[in-house]
């Protein structure tokens, strides 16, 4: 399968997005290799979430392209992009509140396990699906909450469930939007371990504010400021980068100490 020049998991070429007159993303180039853990950081309003929404198909780019495994996916719908092996989580918890935890996970499994729009299978009878869902529940440590309605879980539990739904389909590119936002220090540590565990051997792209998490998790970091990537490098190099220091990181690192 693997050719000599395996295409990048994700590649952005001169990607632009405007809302009305406001140009939020101004020509972003980025390549994320297969199996890499890539973090995107930047000040508030830099366009991190917009960039996420462009890659995952929620927004259509104004100009430029998004490539997934070397295939142009610009302008495709979220479900089409998801079917090509990309799954994402959301900054604001985005689960199915009136369904149980187990059912939430199962929803994430059905398409990828080939059931699609089937009306000739009974879901409860599909042992393969149930077993896989139970495994994921175990992975995210929520077996005991299996039959609770997702809407009544605690915030941290909902965030973990969000990750569970995201990875359930077995996508090989996982994009997480601020997975530790609003969490306490201990919850954050737990979450980082969880992310590391469930994204093993996968490509991970994460937007994060917590610099501790970023430097802990990422192989490479891109710094997004005012819709432009001003640096993409290893954590060490980014930390020492003069431009990054001035534009953003100086103040962010101070917060960390």
């Amino acid at each position: 399968m693997m050719t000599q020049n395996a295409p990048n998991a994700i590649e952005l070429r001169r990607l632009e997005k405007s809302f009305g007159l406001a140009k939020i993303i101004q020509g972003v180039d980025l390549a994320v290799e297969k199996g890499e853990r890539h973090a995107i950081i930047g000040p508030n309003g830099a366009g991190k979430s917009t960039l996420f929404n462009l890659i995952t198909g929620k927004y259509e780019p104004t100009a430029g392209q998004v490539y997934l495994h070397g295939q142009d996916v610009s302008g495709l719908k979220p479900f089409q992009i998801n079917r090509m092996g990309l799954s994402r989580s959301f900054q604001i918890t985005n689960i199915f509140p009136k369904m149980t935890v187990f059912e939430n996970i199962r929803c994430g499994l059905l398409w990828s396990m080939g059931y699609k729009y089937s009306f000739w299978h009974l879901v409860n009878r599909q042992r393969g699906v149930s077993e896989r869902a139970e495994e994921i529940l175990e992975d995210i440590n929520m077996v005991s909450r299996r039959d609770e309605l997702a809407g009544v879980l605690t915030y941290a539990e909902q965030r973990a469930l969000e990750i569970g739904i995201t990875i359930a389909g077995g996508a090989d590119i996982i994009m997480l939007d601020e997975p530790t936002a609003g969490m306490s220090a201990s919850e954050t540590t737990y979450m980082v371990d969880l992310i590391r565990k469930v994204t093993q051997d996968k490509t991970l792209i994460v937007v994060e504010h917590d610099m501790g998490v970023v430097f802990d998790l990422a192989d490479r970091i891109s710094v997004l400021v005012y819709g432009e990537i001003i640096a993409t490098d290893t954590p060490q190099a980014v930390r020492e980068n003069q431009t990054v220091q001035e534009a953003y990181l100086g103040s962010a690192l101070e917060e960390l100490h």
């Binding site: 998801n82 959301f90 089937s118 009974l122 879901v123």
Partner: protein, 430 residues
Amino acid sequence: MSEQNTSMAKSSASAQPLVPIKSALPWLAAIAFLLFLPVVFPSGAALTIMNQMAMTIIFALAYNMLLGQAGMLSFGHAVYMGLGGFFCMHLLNQVEYNELYLPLPLLPVFGGLFGLFFAFLIGSFSTRRAGTVFAMISLGVGELIAACSIIIVVFFGGEEGVSGDRTMGPEVFGFDFASQQEVYYLTAIWLILAALGMYLFSRTPIGRIANAVRDNEERAEFLGYSQRNVRWISFCASGFFCGIAGALFAINFEILTEENLNLATSGSILLITFLGGVGFFIGPVIGAVVFTLLQTVLSLYTEIWQLYLGILFVLTVMFFPAGLTGLLAMHLRPWKLGKIGLLANPYAKMLAPALVLVGSGVALMEILFHARHASLGEEEMNLFGITFNSQDWLPTIVVVAIGAGAFYLVRLLAPQVKEAWDMANHAEGQ
């Protein structure tokens, strides 16, 4: 890779017993009940009402596949039942005049297919959006087809509608379906088949994903599902079962008119489904039974029964959005905790004043209505067995006084009920 998973899932499915006894039990009970019913109520009028109920149940369940399961509010759903019915009526006429070979019990299959066809066609543009836009398009399409029924006389028969004769087909096991009883059993069998079909549909992957799209359409899109396709498929499935109900209507009444397509019919199925409760599979069933009974009984006794239904509906939306079934389901927790007994006493105490309060409200409305609309020389009216002159002030004053007394008692007893309710819902050690 996904192919492999599917086959794996299939092979593992066969390892389980075919039907677990526990989940088959309610269905067996329902079948026994339906078999038994005509023995208790053998009269023609009762059979007609029961057939009416059965059709309404199928229609309401099919409607709830949209409203409850997929979160789609339709104001024009009579169209799919009606069109299914009209096509079946024409099929019956083909059987009668052109010797088409079609046993009557199979007619609902064709009704379903016609419903499915139109749902597919109209759904292709109406399901692109959910919520308000879908609701408005369904209204527009419903009005369009209802209006067409007056223009396209060849198909819809104009104002007289289309009629036919169900008995002209081949006999099936010696039945020619001339008697009400035979039609009842035919309807009952289709009721069970359709209800089971819809129940099973809700447990398929598409049925579960319809729930997911209802709860959070954006998230479902990021799990590989096109929200539009999920809605479209749900819509088609609903259209299919509506068509079955339409075919049964054709068989039962042997006539279809514009009334089967119009906004009033579409509206009443929304009312029925919502009253019953959209959150539960059984909800529309309860709604259909209660509504049909209410309609039959109330319309016998009062001219303003639709006003009462309107009030009941608005109060339900405001105070019990989970409907009658939701009201019953609220008591499941006290029941499981073994504390349902705590509620018996306060409920019993509340019953009399609450009934008097409702009764005096009804009396007031009836008196005012009579006073306003009775023709000259007919000032006498009869209410709850008492005859009096509606133009006098005295009855109104008496009714208001009784109502005020009952209201006071209800207010007085309310805290007790509330307290008992809290107690009954409180698990030990929490």
